[in-house]
Every structure is written in structure tokens, then in C-alpha cells.
Amino acid sequence: MTSSLDRARELLREFPVVDGHNDLPWALREQVRYDLGSRDIAADQSAHLHTDIPRLRAGGVGAQFWSVYVRADLPDAVPSTLEQIDCVRQLLARHPQELAPALTAADMEAARAQGRIASLMGAEGGHSIANSLGTLRGLYDLGVRYLTLTHNYNVAWADSATDEPGVGGLSAFGREVVREMNRLGMLVDLSHVAATTMRDALDATSAPVIFSHSSARAVCDHPRNIPDDVLERLPANGGVAMVTFVPKFVLQAAVDWTAAADENMRARGFHHLDTTAEGMRVHRAFEETHPRPVATVSTVADHLDHMREAAGVDHIGIGGDYDGTAFTPDGLNDVSGYPNLIAELLDRGWSKPDLAKLTWQNAVRVLSAAEDVARDLQSKRSPSNATLESLDSPDA
């Protein structure tokens, strides 16, 4: 009798994981300012990173959307995004045997056939296009295949899940951004956005959307997760919600603990994200008296059980957010952990065809469908030259 884990590994050999979100480029930027030689991902980097090639292999990863995230609170989002894209291109150039540049669903399938890890790019936040459709097209030309409409803060044309309501979802220009992304074949990513934005985007889009790294709000009530009414719209839209592992989004006890820890920081006069020595001391003191709750593989599987129920097995996927989060669940500690999740789902009675959809087929289908929509729209529409001012100013 082979173990679930063995069966999971075997399944992943045929249908590897497409992961929707990995922040390795940001980690390389912050840790070593893109000195890729000092964080050689061909070798074990577990002392510094969640991600390296040996562990991607062990984890059964067959395609990765590398996030080209940059901070939204600095003025240089566009140049920084270009630097992040350059970082991914350099990684691809350094590891051609392992990482296959991928721009299309066909490229993803080709990489799977060759046994390489298809490498795609996603930009995390509308701030990366500086309110410009020309810049959006520039990112597409550079290989970016999804744009998360916001990060943690609103942009002028879309509301974030973790900010105060601004335009109340998508503005007119926001809807035009979605239309232009449809025309290009760039996936609309609704992780990080407010539920109002999710609904507006689903109304505006003519292509399937993705949630590159979001879980279910019904299982854990956090604004970063997806409400059921939105999950239930995915079958009609064709999109895919890629479950994330971030403990403070998926485990209610961790949500509550994080809120209390943040409150503790603020009560002592610190910003809740303060990482100075003094700030960390206050934080560690809190952690000693209030042990941090630990999420597990089972926590994530609970989300997937619910998401399969609410959205259907054709509309779920995986987006770990590795190297973009300080903590990870037990058993999903780094990118080598995906087989544990698949084993857990096998134990819960998920069928092999369902798991193949979860890991590989759904995400590839969505990109392919977006390409079809783009081909159709390009025969009907020219590039949009709308501007934020022309669509969103009060007298527009």
C-alpha cells in the first residue's frame, strides 16, 4: 500500500503545481540588491529564502508566476517594477535548464513536456502602471501576464481590501484598465482588492479572472479572502481562485492574534509593521506571553474544500505567496511542501482528476482562454488611449 504522500508525488509528476504568486524577486531585491550570485537558487537557500530550484523540484512545481511586486508607498513604482522584471529575466538567463520563459498557455505546456519550470510574471498592484495604459502595455510587452489591480492601498481607480473605501470598487478608468487587459491578454488578478472591486471587475471583464493568492472568507473572515458570492460567480466567468497559505489570512486564531499583536504595538506607540530593534523587542515580548497560533496543511485544505464547494472544482488553484510572507503553515514551510497538501486532499477523498485540475489544468485553461479573448478583441478594438483624467475627472 503506497502512502498518500507517494501518490501525491506521483500525481504531481504528471500534473505539477502552477503557483500563482511567489515573491522571490522582492526577496532578492531586499536581501542582496539583485546580487544573484550570492543567492544562487540552483543550490539550497533555505537559510535565506522559501524558494530555490531544488525545493521547487521537490515540491512538484511546474509553473510559477513570479511576482514583480514593488512598494506602493514610494514614488518610483514604475522604474522599480522594471527592475523586478529585469531580475526575473536574469534568473531565467542564469537557469535555462530549469526555468523556461513562458508567455502563453502553450509555453506552459511545452515547459511541462520538457520537464522545466514554466516561468511567468505577475505585477502586484495598479501602482505599477502609474495610471497609464501605455505603461500597462509596456509591462505586457516585457512579459507580465497578470496585474493585481491593487496592493494594500487603493489606487486612484480601484479599491483595496485593506484600505478605506475610495471609488467604491472600480472607477470608469478602472473598468477601462480591465477592458484593455482583456484586449492584451493580461489576466485580471483580484487578490488584494476590495469585494466591491471584485464584483465590478467581474462585471467589466470579458475574460476569466484569477485570484493569484487568496483564500475563502467563509472559512476565515479576513478582507484578503474571497466572499462566497464572488466565488459563486467564477463558474460563469471561467476564472480561478488560487488558495493562499499565509497563516494570518487562513487561520482565524492567527487573524485574531495578528490583530492583537498590531494593537499591542500601536498601544506602545509603534507602527504595527515597525521592524526596528526596539519595535521587534516589543513584538517579541508580546509573542512570549501570547504564543503565535500555527496554521497547518489541514487549515489550507479546509479552505480548498470550501472553495471547491462554492466555486466548483474547475475554478480553484494554488498561490502560496512564498517569500512574500514571514510565516508559513506547518507542513507548507517552503516551496517543497505542496505534496503534503495534495496528500491531505487525497486523504480527504479528492479524486485524481480533481487534483489535476487544482494543480495544473485550471490555471493553464484560464491563461489560454484569456489569449482567445484577446485575439477576438484585437480584431475589434485598437489600443485604448483613455486616461485617468479623461474618464474619472468630475466633468468627464
Partner: protein, 375 residues
């Protein structure tokens, strides 16, 4: 196929990969040359014949900036709001042109990268919308390809150095997007005092990529340093002779001589302010620079749609045959005209690509930052 063979003639250049850089490898012998015009015909007829075989590669066109102000344009059938359109390019026998992505003055520096992306996007959109007449090109091979398809090749650049946002990662991304020429002015690392250490590193990285340096309007210390440092020939996208006409972007004879020693290219603008008000003035400039720097180091730069006053009788790109007729009248050999209009630009494009191949063998992408090197 003659065109294609002309363009591929420099196989000798490729064959010299083992020769140390920079001097020898970029020194390319001119192609052997067969005249195409009837020496007894009148100069304008001869000019048309020569240009049919050796069209103009125009070093600087301001169309992207001009089109930004227009809500609509039709370059295919003729557009009266601008100086450059497909019918006039065809009438003037223009085979390739560089589209400037220089930004308007006074733009906030932290907007420059995004504004350049917008500019590049507009330029690509316009080229794509006029696929019958225009063809986007990134290499000498693609320029030749455009010609074989009967299209005018459009190369993107020069952009101003501010477009990099002081980042070599941005430089590489802009190269990936198709930018091929960068003007080394207007930034802290290429100013009146010349190149800083980061400026030098930028030139090395440009060489590694195959991004061509443009030194028109650059400071003299910058020009001298780049000419010494660069492994590939550079461009002066719009510079004439200061000997004949004082202008900050025009070059004194000693700099023209230094430029010639690197087989770089001085592209003479058809702008009244820089070259003079008449066709004869422009021809005088070309005569002078050919004399000082040699026929391999002089080219043409229409500077159309840049807002400046054109030379009389050369009001738009359809007028190139008049200028070439004047040169033939003055006794220019066809072979020199062919280098002036087409061959030299092809050589510089190939030189940049060839140098890049060589440099990539021994240099990894640079991670240097301006903060690290200049502070």
C-alpha cells in the same frame, strides 16, 4: 537580393571575433561598390537612382512627441499636421529612421521612466497601425528585412538618459522593449563635468546590451570619455560642424577627428539653426565633415517634426533627393553617398550588436547602483 547581400557583406567583421577590442573589430572595410546611376544624367535623376539603391537612414525624427499632441492622424495617406508621413517618406526614398523618445523639457525626473514607457508605447502603436508603410526594427538585420518588404524601418530612440531613472535594470528593460539609442545628457552621471563612475558603468552596460550611445548635446568631457570607453561606435544623432556654424550641439574639428578614430557617426541635421538655411549650407557641412572625419563617419538626420526650422527646400522628408543631387553636383562619388545615406548607419548598428556579443562573453549584467558608485 542585391540589397540583402550588401547588408550581409561584412562577414569579415564577424570573422574577427578573436581580435581584441575595441579598435580592430569595429573597423569594417566598406563594401565593394558598383555604381547604379548614369553619370551623364542630370543630378536629380541620378539622386533618385542612387537613393533607390541606398535609401536614407534618418538619424532623428520627432514624430512621437508631435503625435502626442494630435488626437488623430493618418500617416498612411498623408497627414498635413506633421512633416513626416508615409507618402513623403517614400517620395524622399527614406528606408529607415530613428524615432526620438526625448521627453518635453520640464518633466519631473521621477516621471521620466513612466513617460518614456508611454512614449515608446505610442511609437509602437503608431508603427503597428501603419503596417503597410512602417516596420519596427531592432537590428541591422531587421532594417534590411524592412527594406526587402518595402517598408520604412523605424528604430526606437534616442531617449534621454533620464529615462533610466538612474537604474541599469531599467536600462535593460528598455532595451528589451526595443529602445536602441540613448542620449547621454541631462543626468547627474553625464553632466557638464563628464561621466561619473556610474556613468562609465552605464556605458559599459550599454555596450554589453548593444544600446548605442548618442552624444549630441553631451558635454565635451562626456564625449571624450565615451569615445575612449565605448567598445562600439557611437552616434551624434544631430550634430554639424562648429567650424562652419557655432551651435552647442555642433562639433569642433578636433572632436570630429576623435569621433572618426572610433568609426562613430556624425549625423548632420537638416535644421537651419545648426547647419544653415540653405541646401548649399547643408552640403557645405557634409563636405566639411567628410573631409575631416571621412566618408564612413558622416550621416543624415532630418530632425523633422521636432518643431525647429528646417533648411529651405528641405521642408520635409520628401526633399532628400534635392540634397543628394547637390552632393552629386559637387562631385561626390556614389559610394560616398551610399555610405552617407545608408551604409554607415548599418555599420554602426552591426558594430553595436557585434560588440555586445563579445562583451557578453566576459561581463554579467551589472548590479551597480548610482548610490554605490557616485556617493
Amino acid at each position: 537580393m542585391a540589397d540583402l547581400q550588401d547588408d550581409l557583406h561584412t562577414a569579415a567583421e564577424i570573422g574577427r571575433a578573436d581580435v581584441p577590442y575595441p579598435e580592430e573589430a569595429v573597423l569594417v572595410e566598406p563594401a565593394t561598390f558598383a555604381p547604379v546611376s548614369d553619370p551623364d544624367a542630370d543630378p536629380l535623376t541620378r539622386a533618385h537612382a542612387v537613393l533607390a539603391a541606398h535609401p536614407v537612414a534618418d538619424g532623428y525624427n520627432g514624430l512621437p512627441q508631435t503625435l502626442r499632441r494630435l488626437s488623430w492622424c493618418d500617416l498612411a495617406l498623408g497627414e498635413s499636421a506633421v512633416e513626416t508621413d508615409v507618402p513623403r517618406l517614400r517620395a524622399g526614398k527614406v528606408g529607415a529612421m530613428f524615432w526620438s523618445l526625448h521627453l518635453p523639457d520640464g518633466l519631473a525626473p521621477d516621471r521620466a521612466v513612466a513617460a518614456t514607457l508611454d512614449h515608446l508605447d505610442l511609437a509602437k502603436t503608431v508603427v503597428a497601425a501603419h503596417g503597410e508603410g512602417l516596420y519596427p526594427a531592432r537590428t541591422a538585420g531587421e532594417v534590411a528585412d524592412a527594406r526587402n518588404r518595402g517598408r520604412v524601418a523605424v528604430l526606437f530612440g534616442p531617449a534621454g538618459a533620464a529615462a533610466l531613472g538612474d537604474s541599469l535594470g531599467v536600462l535593460r528593460s528598455l532595451y528589451t522593449l526595443g529602445l536602441r539609442v540613448l542620449t547621454l545628457t541631462g543626468v547627474s552621471w553625464a553632466g557638464p563635468a563628464g561621466l561619473t563612475r556610474f556613468g562609465e558603468e552605464t556605458v559599459r552596460e550599454m555596450n554589453r546590451l548593444g544600446m548605442i550611445a548618442d552624444l549630441s548635446y553631451a558635454s565635451e568631457p562626456t564625449i571624450r570619455r565615451v569615445l575612449t570607453l565605448s567598445k562600439a561606435p557611437v552616434l551624434f544623432s544631430r550634430s554639424a560642424s562648429r567650424e562652419l556654424r557655432p551651435h552647442p550641439a555642433n562639433l569642433p574639428d578636433d572632436l570630429l577627428g576623435d569621433m572618426a578614430r572610433t568609426r562613430s557617426l556624425c549625423m548632420v541635421p537638416l535644421a537651419a539653426e545648426q547647419s544653415g538655411p540653405t541646401v548649399r549650407d547643408v552640403a557645405d557641412q557634409l563636405d566639411h565633415i567628410r573631409g575631416v572625419a571621412g566618408p564612413e563617419c558622416v550621416g543624415l538626420s532630418g530632425t523633422y517634426d521636432t518643431g525647429g526650422a528646417c533648411t529651405q527646400e528641405l521642408a520635409d522628408p520628401s526633399c532628400y533627393p534635392r540634397l543628394i543631387a547637390e552632393l552629386l553636383r559637387r562631385g561626390w562619388e556614389e559610394s560616398d553617398v551610399a555610405l552617407l545615406t545608408w551604409g554607415n548607419v548599418q555599420r554602426v548598428l552591426r558594430g553595436a550588436a557585434f560588440a555586445a556579443h563579445a562583451v557578453q562573453q566576459r561581463r554579467a549584467p551589472s548590479t551597480a547602483t548610482v548610490g554605490e558608485l557616485d556617493r
